[in-house]
C-alpha cells in the first residue's frame, strides 16, 4: 500500500478532502492540523466567504468557507464537516470542507496542469490535477486562494452594489 517509510523523491503527500462532490488535495506541508467543526464566531463586515473566527490554542484564527470562496452552493455542516487549518506566509487560516478523506502519496509525474474548466473552481486557483486509482484529485493553490482576498472583497462589494441598485 502506501509507503510510509520516507518521503520519496518525486512524490507528494496530499491531504485529500471533499467539497461539493469533488475530491480536492492540498500539500500536507501546508496543513497544520484538521479539527472537527466547532462554533464559529461570525465577524460582521468581513468578506462573505469568511465564516468567522475560532480559537485555536489561545490564538484567534479566521475560518473561510471554501464553498463560498469558489462560489459553490452553500451547504449545512454535517458530522463529517471538518476545518482544515493551513499555514500560509505566516498566517494561520481555517478552511471549512465537507469531509476529509485521507492522506495520499502521489507521484509528481501523475500531476498534470489544470484544464481551463474543471469542476466548479476557476483554473487560476488550481495547481494541477492528479489521477489516482481512477479518481480525479484537484490540487488547490492555497497561495492564490488566500492571497486574492482583496480581489474577492472587491468582487463582493461590486455584487452588493449591484444588489442594491437592482
Amino acid at each position: 500500500m502506501i509507503d510510509t517509510r520516507s518521503a520519496r523523491k518525486g512524490e507528494e503527500q496530499l491531504v485529500v478532502f471533499q467539497l461539493a462532490g469533488q475530491t480536492y488535495g492540498v500539500d500536507i506541508a501546508q496543513v497544520f492540523e484538521i479539527i472537527r467543526m466547532e462554533v464559529i464566531t461570525r465577524v460582521p463586515k468581513a468578506p462573505s466567504f469568511v465564516e468567522g473566527v475560532i480559537k485555536l490554542r489561545g490564538s484567534i484564527i479566521p475560518v473561510i468557507d471554501l464553498r463560498k470562496r469558489f462560489g459553490m452552493p452553500p451547504a449545512e455542516s454535517t458530522a463529517n464537516s471538518r476545518i482544515v487549518i493551513v499555514e500560509m506566509g505566516g498566517m494561520t487560516i481555517g478552511m471549512v470542507v465537507d469531509a476529509v478523506s485521507e492522506v495520499l502519496r502521489i507521484s509528481r509525474a501523475d500531476i498534470e496542469p489544470p484544464p481551463p474548466m474543471v469542476a466548479a473552481v476557476d483554473a487560476a486557483y488550481l495547481r494541477g490535477i492528479a489521477l489516482w486509482r481512477e479518481r480525479l484529485i484537484i490540487l488547490l493553490d492555497l497561495e492564490k486562494i488566500l492571497a486574492e482576498k482583496d480581489q474577492a472583497r472587491l468582487r463582493q462589494s461590486k455584487m452588493e452594489l449591484a444588489e442594491k441598485s437592482a
Partner: protein
C-alpha cells in the same frame, strides 16, 4: 568592534544618565548646591565618561570629563552654582544629546563640543584652579598629569584600612602588570575589577585612578589597594587567571604607617612599604561608586518588551485553560457528587487558579514603569518655555511613582507634552496680568498621577486664565458645528468638551481665545486610541484641569459583555457611559431615526444587530441599551441582553482579516467561545456618518 547590543546597552544607560543630569541641573537651580545632587550628577557624568571612552566616543568622553571636573569643584565648594552656570550645564546637556544622536545616526552632522567645553572651563578658571584636566580635553584617552603625581594614601583611605583590619579583613597592595602588547587595556582593567568584586574583594584605591583605567590610560600596569577576607595567594590566583595579565604581586598591608607610595617589589616582605606622602582624596569615593554601580547592574536585567508581551499572551491562554478546568471540575462534581478524587481535582483547580492570577499580576508588574519616566522630561521643557515666554511657572509633581504599563507610557507621553505646552503657553498669564488679577506672580502647574481602580488618572492643572464655555459656544456657532438649539442645550461642561472637536482648536483658527490652544482633538484622539478618556474642567479666571484616565495596561481590559442573538460582544468598559433597560414602547421616531428620551434628554438609538448585519432576534419585549460616547455624540446601542462585566485579554483578528470596521479585536471567553470586541470609536464615527447621511437625504427630500 562593539556589537550593536553593547551599544544599545550603552545608549540605554546614557538615556538614564541624561535624565539624572537634567533633573540634577534643575534641582541645582532651584535648591542650590546640595551635596546629594552634586554627588548624583558627578556620578552620572563619571559613568558616561567611562563608558563612552571605552566605546571610543571621544567627544562624548571629553565633554563629560569637563562636566565632571566642574562637578568636582562644586562638590568641594570651590565654585557655586549660578543661574548662568545652570544655563551652560543645560547647554552642555543638549550637546551631549546631540552626541548621542550622532551615535544613533539620527543626525548626520558632526557636533562641535569646543564652545561648550570652553564655557564649562570658564567656571573652573573662576575657581582659580590652574589644572584643567590635562590631556583629557580634546580627543582621546590620556592620563591627566595632575593625577599621576599623587601616589600615596589619604587619611580617608587609611581610615578604611584601619577599620577593615579591625574587623579581621586583610588589606593588600596589589600590583597588576598587563601585557604591553595588550590592545584593550581598559577591558583588562575592568576584568580585574570585576573578578575582584565577584570574589567579594573591595577595592578602595587605585593608581592610576579608576576613570583613567577605564580609558586604558595607563602604562604596563596599575596598582590597587584591596580589602578582602581572602588571603594573598587566593587573590593572586584570581587575578592571574585573567588573560593578558602578566604578573600579579599581592602584598599584605599590616601596619598603617607602612602603607606608602612607590611601586611594590615582588620581593618585599609584608609591611616593607614606604610611608605615605601627599593626598589622593578623590579616588576612593569614585572607587566606591564604581562598585555600587556594578552591584546594581547585577540585580536588574534588561528585557525586550516583546518577550514580556509573549509571556503575557501565554499567561492569557493559561487563564482561559484554567477557567475551563474550573468548569470541568464543576461538571464532574455535579455528575459524581463529592468524592475524594473530585475534591482533589477541585483543589488542584483552585490552586492553579491562584498561581495563574499571581503569575498574571507579576508579569503585569514587570511591564509597569513609574510615570516619572514621562514626568521627568517636563521640568526642563517647562523651564525653557517659561523663560522664552517671560512667564514664571512653579511646577508641582505629585505621584511620580504611580506605575503603568510601559506601552501606555510610550503613548501617553506625547499628548501630555501637548497639554503642558498648552498650559504654559495659553493657560498661564504673564506675571503682570496675574498680579492685576489679584493672583500670585508665579503661576502653578500641577502634574498629578494616581490610581483609580484599574485605571491611572493623570491631571494637568494650571491656575491660569481658564476657559470660558460661552466663548467655546460662540466659536462652535461660528464654525457651524451644531445648530443654535443644540448649542443652547449644552451644559457648560458639555460646552467645555467642544474644545476636543476636530478642527476646533487648530492653530489656524484659534488664537488664544480659549485660554487653551491648539490641537486638543489630536490629544483626544491619541488618548482614545488606547481606550482612555480625556476631560476638561475649568473655571474662567481660576484655572483649568485636564484629566486623562487610562487603562493600566493595553493587554487586558475590563469589558461589558453583551448578548446579541447567540453572539456575545465586548464593549470596553472605559467607553461605556451607562447601561439602561429599554422598554420598546418608549422608542420614538424622529425623521428616520429611533430615539428615546432619557432623563429629559433625547438619545439616538442604534441597533447593534443592524450595524453588524446580524439578524434581529425578535424578542422585542425586553431590550437593553449601552450608552456610549460623550456630550452631543452620546448614542444608545441597542442589544438583546447584558451578560456582565469581566476582564478580557485582547487578541488581534490577524493579518488575513486585517482591519474590520467596528471591531477592534477578539477575546476568548471562559467557555472557549470567541467574543468580538467592539471598536466604539469607529462605531461612533460610523453612526455620526450615517446620521449625517440621513440628514442630507432628509434635507434633499
Amino acid at each position: 568592534m562593539f556589537s550593536s547590543e553593547e551599544i544599545q546597552v550603552f545608549l540605554d544607560e546614557l538615556e538614564e544618565k541624561i535624565e539624572i543630569l537634567n533633573d540634577g541641573f534643575l534641582t541645582l537651580e532651584r535648591d542650590g548646591d546640595n551635596p546629594e545632587t552634586v554627588q548624583e550628577i558627578f556620578r552620572a557624568a563619571h559613568t558616561v565618561k567611562g563608558s563612552s571612552g571605552i566605546l571610543g566616543y571621544n567627544h562624548m568622553s571629553s565633554l563629560t570629563h569637563e562636566m565632571e571636573n566642574l562637578f568636582s569643584l562644586l562638590r568641594d565648594g570651590r565654585v557655586h552654582s549660578t543661574p548662568h552656570m545652570v544655563d551652560v550645564l543645560l547647554e552642555s546637556l543638549d550637546t551631549l544629546k546631540m552626541l548621542r544622536d550622532e551615535v544613533t545616526g539620527e543626525t548626520g552632522r558632526t557636533v562641535d563640543i569646543g564652545p561648550v567645553v570652553e564655557r564649562l572651563r570658564g567656571f573652573r578658571q573662576q575657581a582659580g584652579t590652574g589644572d584643567d584636566g590635562g590631556g583629557m580635553v580634546g580627543n582621546g584617552p590620556a592620563a591627566g598629569p595632575e593625577e599621576t603625581a599623587k601616589t600615596a594614601f589619604s587619611d580617608a583611605v587609611l581610615d578604611v584600612i584601619r577599620e577593615a583590619v579591625d574587623q579581621g579583613y586583610g588589606a593588600y597592595r596589589v600590583q597588576v602588570d598587563i601585557d604591553p602588547g595588550c590592545r584593550m587595556k581598559s577591558v583588562r582593567a575592568f576584568l580585574v575589577f570585576q573578578a575582584l568584586e565577584k570574589a567579594g574583594v573591595q577595592v578602595i584605591w587605585s593608581e592610576p585612578p579608576v576613570d583613567e583605567l577605564e580609558q586604558g590610560g595607563f602604562g604596563a600596569g596599575f596598582e590597587l589597594l584591596a580589602v578582602s577576607e581572602e588571603d594573598a595567594d587566593r587573590l593572586r590566583g584570581i587575578l592571574s587567571l585573567i588573560a593578558e595579565v602578566n604578573a600579579v604581586t599581592v602584598v599584605p598591608v599590616t601596619a598603617l604607617d607602612e602603607v606608602g607610595a612607590g611601586p611594590v617589589k615582588a620581593a618585599s616582605a609584608p609591611g616593607a612599604t614606604p610611608a605615605p606622602a601627599g593626598s589622593v582624596l578623590d579616588f576612593p569615593v569614585k572607587q566606591a561608586d564604581l562598585l555600587n554601580d556594578h552591584k546594581k547592574a547585577v540585580r536588574t536585567v534588561r528585557i525586550d518588551v516583546r518577550k514580556l508581551d509573549s509571556l503575557m499572551n501565554l499567561v492569557g491562554e493559561l487563564v482561559i485553560e484554567r477557567t475551563r478546568l474550573e468548569r470541568f471540575a464543576d461538571l464532574m462534581e455535579l455528575k459524581y457528587r463529592s468524592e475524594e478524587m473530585i475534591d482533589t481535582l477541585n483543589e488542584i483547580s483552585n490552586h492553579l487558579g491562584q498561581i495563574t492570577s499571581d503569575l498574571q499580576e507579576e508579569i503585569m508588574k514587570a511591564r509597569m514603569l513609574p510615570i516619572a519616566q514621562v514626568f521627568n522630561r517636563f521640568p526642563r521643557m517647562i523651564r525653557d518655555l517659561a523663560h522664552k515666554l517671560g512667564k514664571e511657572v512653579d511646577l508641582v509633581i505629585e505621584g511620580r511613582d504611580t506605575e503603568l504599563d510601559r506601552n501606555v507610557i510610550e503613548i501617553v507621553s506625547d499628548p501630555l507634552l501637548h497639554l503642558i505646552r498648552n498650559a504654559v503657553d495659553h493657560g498661564l498669564e504673564m506675571p503682570e496680568e496675574r498680579l492685576a488679577a489679584g493672583k500670585p506672580r508665579t503661576g502653578t502647574l500641577t502634574l498629578r498621577a494616581f490610581h483609580q481602580e484599574s485605571h491611572i488618572v493623570i491631571i494637568v492643572e494650571d491656575d491660569g486664565r481658564g476657559v470660558d464655555p460661552d466663548q467655546l459656544r460662540a466659536k462652535a456657532r461660528q464654525m457651524q458645528l451644531f445648530d443654535d438649539r443644540t448649542l443652547g442645550r449644552l451644559s457648560d461642561q458639555e460646552a467645555m468638551n467642544l474644545i476636543f472637536y476636530a478642527g476646533f482648536s487648530t492653530a489656524a483658527n484659534v488664537t488664544d481665545i480659549s485660554g487653551r490652544g491648539v490641537g486638543m482633538d489630536v490629544v483626544k484622539n491619541q488618548i482614545e486610541q488606547i481606550s482612555g478618556v480625556v476631560e476638561m474642567r475649568s473655571t474662567p479666571g481660576q484655572g483649568t484641569a485636564i484629566s486623562i484616565k487610562l487603562p493600566l495596561t493595553l493587554a487586558i481590559i475590563r469589558a461589558l459583555m453583551v448578548g446579541l442573538g447567540s453572539h456575545v460582544y465586548a464593549f470596553p468598559l472605559s467607553n461605556v457611559v451607562e447601561t439602561i433597560h429599554l422598554d420598546p414602547a418608549a422608542i420614538r421616531m424622529i425623521r428616520d431615526s429611533e430615539v428615546v428620551v432619557v432623563r429629559g434628554e433625547v438619545l439616538s438609538l442604534v441597533r447593534l444587530g443592524r450595524l453588524f448585519r446580524q439578524r434581529e432576534t425578535g424578542t422585542a419585549e425586553k431590550l437593553y441599551m449601552v450608552v456610549i460616547g460623550t456630550g452631543p455624540d452620546r448614542v444608545g446601542v441597542v442589544v438583546d441582553r447584558l451578560v456582565g462585566e469581566q476582564e478580557i485579554v485582547i487578541k488581534s483578528l490577524g493579518d488575513f482579516l486585517g482591519r474590520i470596521s467596528g471591531i477592534s479585536g477578539a477575546t476568548i471567553l471562559g467557555d472557549g467561545k470567541v467574543a468580538l470586541i467592539v471598536d466604539v470609536r469607529a462605531l461612533l464615527a460610523e453612526i455620526s456618518g450615517l446620521q449625517a447621511h440621513q440628514g442630507r437625504v432628509y434635507a434633499a427630500g
